[in-house]
């Protein structure tokens, strides 16, 4: 199957004055049609930067050092703003992390929805209106006509996120990039929204890049998972492979930290000590070494991503040699 989006050797750095700080290092991934790829990692390890780079939304101080972002074979990084606009409107949509400032506070929901429908699909006002109502129904909001006339502050967070999804869907994109779409919502709503995304993904035959720090969510939704840490992919596999047999110590630690209702009540929730290092581009060897319980001197060497099984990659020399066995 030809991939819809393919990212090759993408390296992004923050440049300030003369210093260069690499935040995303040599990442490769591809998303096929109708596939859900999940990028999982802690805060501050380059997930959002990766997502923003795809759509050309990086801040001016972020530079793409090398790499290609191919959308249906065309490199997005070589495109002019005009060419990019055609892709951005019709082919790729994005759902942002912070729902609260994702909608324009002074315009009604209806106005915000219909404007982009009008521009992209060439509908007149009435058609755009009808279409917007259809989409609002699709995202599970009742009484679409009254929603259309409301201002964002009159809706709850969950409703706003549904409206955001409706906006993303409105132009029939082939790919949706969802950057932690449920972070700002409470737990019960989180699952609803995620389920909604997946249902719509099936219905509309879209691909999704789901960026999240919640590995529990991933298990239910994604087809493929990449584990990102300090700007690198540590492990990449299908969901089944990853949950069945994690290779990287970091993946293992993440999986262990998922709380389960079968756990012993008195046991403390597993956690990974420490935080993502501040300036991780300076670390030469394994970026996770500092926090890794399986650290050996060889970890100071540069680590490469190697294929363990078909389509299951890991960046750890010990896992590669089969030295790590997790219970």
């Amino acid at each position: 199957m030809k991939p819809l989006l393919q990212v090759e050797d993408l390296t992004i750095a923050f440049v300030d004055e003369n210093k260069q700080k690499v935040v995303v290092e040599n990442i490769n991934f591809s998303v096929g049609p109708g596939e859900i790829l999940s990028i999982v990692g802690e805060s501050g390890c380059g997930k959002s930067v990766t997502a923003l780079s795809i759509l050309g939304l990086l801040k001016p101080n972020a530079r793409i050092i090398k790499g290609k972002i191919l959308y249906q074979g065309n490199n997005l990084l070589d495109m002019s703003e005009k060419e990019l606009d055609r892709i951005r409107g019709n082919e790729v949509a994005m759902i942002f992390q912070d729902v609260m400032n994702s909608l324009n506070p002074v315009l009604t929901i209806g106005k915000q929805l219909t404007e982009s429908i009008g521009i992209h699909l060439g509908y007149d006002k009435k058609e755009a209106n009808e279409y917007a109502i259809e989409i609002i129904k699709k995202v599970g909001l009742s009484d679409p006509r009254s929603i259309m006339r409301k201002y964002p502050h009159m809706l709850s967070g969950g409703m706003q996120q549904r409206v955001m999804i409706a906006m993303a869907l409105s132009c029939n994109p082939k790919l949706i990039i969802a950057d932690e779409p449920t972070t700002a919502l409470d737990v019960t709503i989180q699952l609803q929204i995620m389920k909604l995304l997946v249902d719509l993904q099936k219905e509309f035959q879209m691909s999704i890049i789901l960026i999240t720090h919640d590995i529990g969510v991933v298990a239910e939704l994604a087809d493929r998972v990449t584990i990102m840490y300090a700007g690198q992919f540590m492990e990449e596999a299908s969901v089944y492979q990853l949950f069945d047999k994690p290779y990287h110590p970091y993946t293992n630690a993440l999986l262990k930290s998922i709380p389960s209702i079968y756990d012993d009540k008195n046991r403390k929730l597993a956690s990974i000590p420490g935080t993502v290092p501040e300036d991780y581009s300076a670390i030469k060897g394994c970026k996770f070494a500092d926090r890794c319980p399986y650290k050996v001197p060889l970890c100071e060497e540069i680590q490469v991503l190697s294929e363990m099984e078909s389509d299951h990659f890991v960046r750890c020399h010990r896992a590669e040699k089969g030295e790590l066995v997790y219970e």
């Binding site: 951005r88 994005m94 942002f96 324009n104 002074v106 982009s116 006339r149 201002y151």
Partner: protein, 291 residues
């Protein structure tokens, strides 16, 4: 909110909300009534004024009386009629100058804030330059270069008042540019003119409107100052400033209060009430404010 509200209802409820919040400011409500009444009087001046404002009569420097409610000036013109016409001119100058400066300021601010880079630098340096000149001097020089007169004073005031609005709008745009809904528009491939005028502009209207009220008040004061100095509206056309100009001498100040007190008081009242209205507007217009 119940289900069968329709579109016009919702719009109305929004406006009602603004009115409701505005009403909480008692002073502003009084000021607004005052401004409306003065404006109506000014607009209808030709119908209301008992005399032609430029008509010279034999009654020189008469104190207020039944025939001349506010007395007459040194060459026998009716002060009440002159005051009406003067208000008309002053309000018009202030209003027109405010419109001109707001339009220039908003457009330049939007462009500078949204596109950034070299465009931003150029626009903001021009803004800084204009702001760093002593204001009244700049106006005087401009008035000296162009012929003083009604339209020239409007254009001059309009051209020196915009930097504040430009800065205000630019600041707003800078923060709006970072919000997800603007990023979302970019992602959705919306054209720049849509993003600027349909998404960003409505978000800056509130602050701009509030700022415009203060520009309005300042323009009225500036017109008065310029006309007082003889650089503004030229006699015989009456404006609040050049009525005061006629009251420069000590004898008039001490002995003929009717020649300058009404115009002076009117300027103060206009400026104060415009500012009150501006203050209340700021509170009332904020779309996210609660009741």
């Amino acid at each position: 909110m119940n289900q069968n509200t329709d579109a016009s209802d919702n719009k109305n409820s929004n406006i009602k909300m603004i009115i409701k919040r505005f009403r909480k400011h008692k002073l502003a409500v009084v000021s607004l009534y005052f401004l409306v009444i003065i404006s109506i009087l000014a607009i209808l001046a030709p119908l209301i004024a008992p005399y032609d404002p430029d008509e010279v009569s034999m009654a020189f420097s008469r104190p207020p009386s039944k025939e001349h409610w506010l007395g007459t000036d040194q060459i026998g013109r009716d002060m009440f009629s002159r005051l009406l016409y003067a208000t008309r001119v002053s309000l018009f100058v202030g209003f027109a100058a405010t419109i001109i400066s707001s339009i220039i300021g908003v457009i330049l601010g939007l462009i500078a804030g949204y596109f950034g880079g070299i465009v931003d630098i150029i626009i903001m340096r021009i803004t800084d330059t204009i702001m760093s000149f002593p204001y009244i001097l700049l106006v005087l020089v401009a008035a000296a270069i162009f012929e003083p007169g009604l339209w020239n004073i409007i254009i001059i005031l309009g051209l020196v008042d915009w930097p504040g609005a430009a800065r205000l709008v630019r600041g707003n745009v800078l923060s709006l540019r970072e919000t997800n809904f603007i990023k979302g528009d970019v992602v959705a491939g919306m054209p720049n003119r849509y993003i600027l005028f349909s998404e960003i502009l409505p978000n800056t209207i509130g602050p701009v409107l509030v700022y415009a009220t203060s520009v309005f008040a300042i323009s009225i004061l500036d017109e008065a100052a310029l006309s007082f100095l003889g650089m503004g509206v030229q006699p015989p056309t009456a404006s609040l400033g050049n009525i005061l100009n006629g009251a420069e001498s000590i004898t008039i100040l001490t002995g003929k209060f009717w020649l300058w007190i009404p115009a002076g008081v009117l300027i103060i009242l206009l400026v104060v009430s415009i500012n009150f209205v501006g203050d209340a507007l700021r509170d009332a217009i904020d779309p996210s404010a609660k009741e």
